[in-house]
């Protein structure tokens, strides 16, 4: 019995010899960017040096009709074979993303070697300077943008959407995609977070949410990361809250949707420090409720204007309100919906101070 078990494993492992890919034969590409349009695509590849050339960075660009053609043309520019199996981020220019994002991603889903956890980002203007910036990234070049995304996912500014999840959203009529939006800082020419890019059926709408709005959208989607800090001014006193727990309750009344959010928060900063007074605590809760409700209403308006169902109401409609979902095309029905958010706040944590 022992013999056969050993044979099973040894034999199966040996069969992989044909498919070995030594590092010396491949050029690992951690980030790529695209501009232009399908048919006349411009691709930018950032390739860090391997082993003895570690620390070096090559910026390559090529034009082609499709993503794969661009990849092949880049392949001709390097002595090793271009390898996308460790691709950590794909950057797409805002103008390119306006027309069928899926058409740029098909290649990554088809090859089993490609990663599906790759981060996707929309760039303000061309993706070229963002890839070129790799020269200044030093040792972080392999994961610079993916780490950036991860950090902002933790801060609830970006939802945790990778290449695979993007595909799910793009092929699902009941929800629209939102992706991290980055731009080059005017002050120091460094890539910085711009907020969230809103999509309508796989096309970038041109509309984005700012950082603070992005946090609120994540709260509304009930997809917050480790921290969700929001600061408001209450009678000229800044109060910073951390959203801890969200309970979402949705009621559909025809085409009106009431979304009640019961939110537990922690106080991170509030120098007035008068929580011993229960009345005052209630007042603050009421203030935050009003503020958050008003801000959520603004978010709803932005989503409606962009015709972006980022909240995934279509999924709920498909599951429980089939008559509405099947009435026509969901994205024609979505703008006619009245969405009424309402927030109730419960301060559950004030840190080590009362």
């Amino acid at each position: 019995m022992k013999k056969i078990v050993s044979i099973v494993f040894i034999v199966l492992l040996l069969s992989g010899c044909w498919d070995e890919r030594p590092n010396k034969d491949i050029a690992i590409v951690p980030m790529i960017g695209f501009d232009g349009e399908i048919g006349e695509l411009k691709g930018y590849f950032g390739i860090p040096g391997q082993q003895q050339n570690a620390g070096e960075f090559s910026f390559l660009k090529a034009e082609g009709a499709s993503v794969e053609e661009v990849r092949q043309k880049i392949d001709l520019q390097v002595s090793e074979g271009v390898d996308l199996s460790k691709l950590s981020s794909i950057l797409i220019s805002d103008q390119l993303a306006e027309h069928d994002l899926y058409s740029l991603l098909d290649m990554y889903y088809r090859n089993a070697r490609n990663r599906l956890n790759t981060s996707m980002l929309i760039t303000e203007g061309s993706a070229e300077p963002f890839i070129k910036y790799g020269e200044k990234m030093g040792g972080n070049v392999n994961n610079y943008y993916s780490q950036l995304v991860k950090g902002f996912v933790q801060k609830s500014i970006f939802p945790d959407i990778d290449l695979q999840l993007a595909c799910s959203y793009l092929l699902d009529e009941g929800i629209d995609l939102v992706l991290p939006y980055i731009k080059i800082s005017n002050e120091n020419d460094v890539p910085e977070v711009g907020g969230l890019a809103l999509f309508d059926e796989g096309n970038f709408t041109g509309k984005t949410l700012k950082r603070e709005e992005s946090i609120l959208l994540n709260v509304m989607m009930d997809k917050i990361g480790k921290y969700a800090y929001i600061t408001y001014m209450d009678k000229n006193v800044p109060v910073t809250i951390n959203i801890k727990q969200i309970n979402k309750d949705m009621k559909w009344d025809g085409t009106t949707i009431h979304i009640d959010y019961k939110i537990k928060i922690g106080i991170m900063e509030y120098y007035k420090n008068d929580f011993q007074n229960k009345e005052r605590k209630k007042e603050l809760e009421k203030f935050l409720q009003q503020k958050l409700t008003t801000d959520m209403e603004k978010i709803v308006k932005i989503l409606h204007d962009a015709n972006s169902d980022a909240l995934g109401l279509g999924r709920i409609a498909r599951a429980f309100h089939q008559d509405l979902f099947e009435e026509g095309k969901w994205k024609d029905i979505y703008p006619t919906l009245t969405i009424v958010p309402k927030v109730s706040i419960n301060i559950t944590d004030t840190g080590v101070m009362d």
Binding site: M1, I4, V8, S15, D19, Q164, S168, L171, D172, I316
Partner: protein, 344 residues
């Protein structure tokens, strides 16, 4: 004639690995494409029907006596299954793990393992599946990593199913029950004939059903229906999309588990065929080697996407015949024969 005895646990483990191996990564998308949100309900119902079939098999297995022609027919069926499965395994491995490794190398290596096991003692065949038990738990642990990414609304609406969807779902679900007739072959060899109660059969079928239903539900909740239409191997894709710090490609790790699982499943199918052969002829070593060479050569002719699909579709109909109708016919004939003998 081969003489061996097995315990009821060995019987059920044999049946479980035989039925799940190879099949369990590919059939979810077929069922979901056919029955959409109701795929798991369709599976539960079909599984219930197969439970009745197993109970029927258990009650009347004594009447399952085949003539020489029928034995050859069954052998042909099982060897064909092995060829189809080997074709499919190599097809999947080409896509996911070994795109450059020649097909004959992968297939021959799998056939060699089966040959070795089938030339060894019976104990090897009945115990080899034990090595897969930890992998079953590892598989579910890996699957559970995706729980946070499930979209629970994909589960609904439930129950809105048209007759056409029901029929299609039924057809695709049957794929998971291929090999059920092995119960009739092995049941006479269970040590204590009364050891297997209906409760134990029901428990087996419950575990079997849960195994498949969980994979269906995970696929259904993880992917949108449109996505499933373009992803034929949902479980592999689902695992591929999981990120864990200590393993970059979870799908590749799972591929090895699945490959081991499939090789053992094939070994068991070969055993069934060779067992019937041994009931007819005393010398079997040459035939064992010969049939292994045949099954390792044939898949090379079928490794295309279209052929794999056609062969799989064909399997559904052959299962209806060899897994259900034919055994029932043989048992009915045996029962009538025994009645006649009693009367005379």
């Amino acid at each position: 004639m081969a003489k061996f005895t097995i315990s009821n646990k060995q019987l059920f483990l044999f049946l479980f690995i035989l039925q799940t191996g190879t099949v369990f990564i590919s059939f979810q998308s077929r069922v979901i494409n056919a029955a959409e949100q109701n795929a798991w309900i369709v599976f539960v119902i079909v599984s219930g029907l197969h439970l009745l079939l197993l109970i029927l098999f258990d009650k009347y297995y004594k009447y399952f006596k085949m003539n020489k022609f029928e034995k050859w027919l069954y052998q042909l069926y099982w060897y064909s299954i092995v060829v189809i499965f080997l074709t499919y395994i190599d097809f999947v491995l080409k896509l996911w793990a070994f795109p450059l490794t020649p097909a004959f190398i992968v297939i021959s290596l799998m056939a060699i393992i089966s040959l070795y096991a089938n030339l060894s003692k019976y104990a090897v065949i009945f115990n080899i599946s034990v090595i897969l038990i930890p992998f079953i738990f590892v598989f579910f642990a890996m699957l559970s990593l995706s729980t946070k990414d499930l979209t629970w609304t994909n589960f609904f609406p439930i129950g809105e199913i048209e007759l056409k969807q029901w029929m299609e779902g039924f057809g695709k679900t049957i794929y998971a029950f291929i090999g059920i007739e092995a119960y009739l072959i092995l049941r006479p060899f269970v040590q204590d004939k009364k050891q297997i109660t209906y409760r134990k059969i029901a428990l087996y079928q419950l575990i079997f059903t849960l195994f498949f239903v969980i994979t269906i539900i995970y696929s259904l909740l993880f992917f949108s229906l449109k996505e499933i239409q373009i992803i034929p191997v949902t479980i592999m894709y689902l695992l591929k999309s999981q990120e864990i710090t200590f393993l970059q490609r979870l799908d590749l790790f799972f591929t090895y588990i699945w490959m081991t699982w499939s090789v053992i499943s094939i070994t068991l199918f070969m055993f069934l065929g060779l067992h019937l052969y041994k009931t007819m002829y005393t010398r079997s070593i040459k035939f064992t080697v010969f049939i292994h060479i045949v099954v390792s050569i044939l898949p090379a002719f079928f490794i295309t996407r279209e052929m794999v699909k056609k062969l799989h579709d064909g399997l559904l109909y052959t299962h209806l015949f060899f897994g259900i109708l034919f055994p029932l016919f043989i048992m009915l004939r045996g029962w009538r024969k025994s009645l006649r003998e009693k009367n005379s």
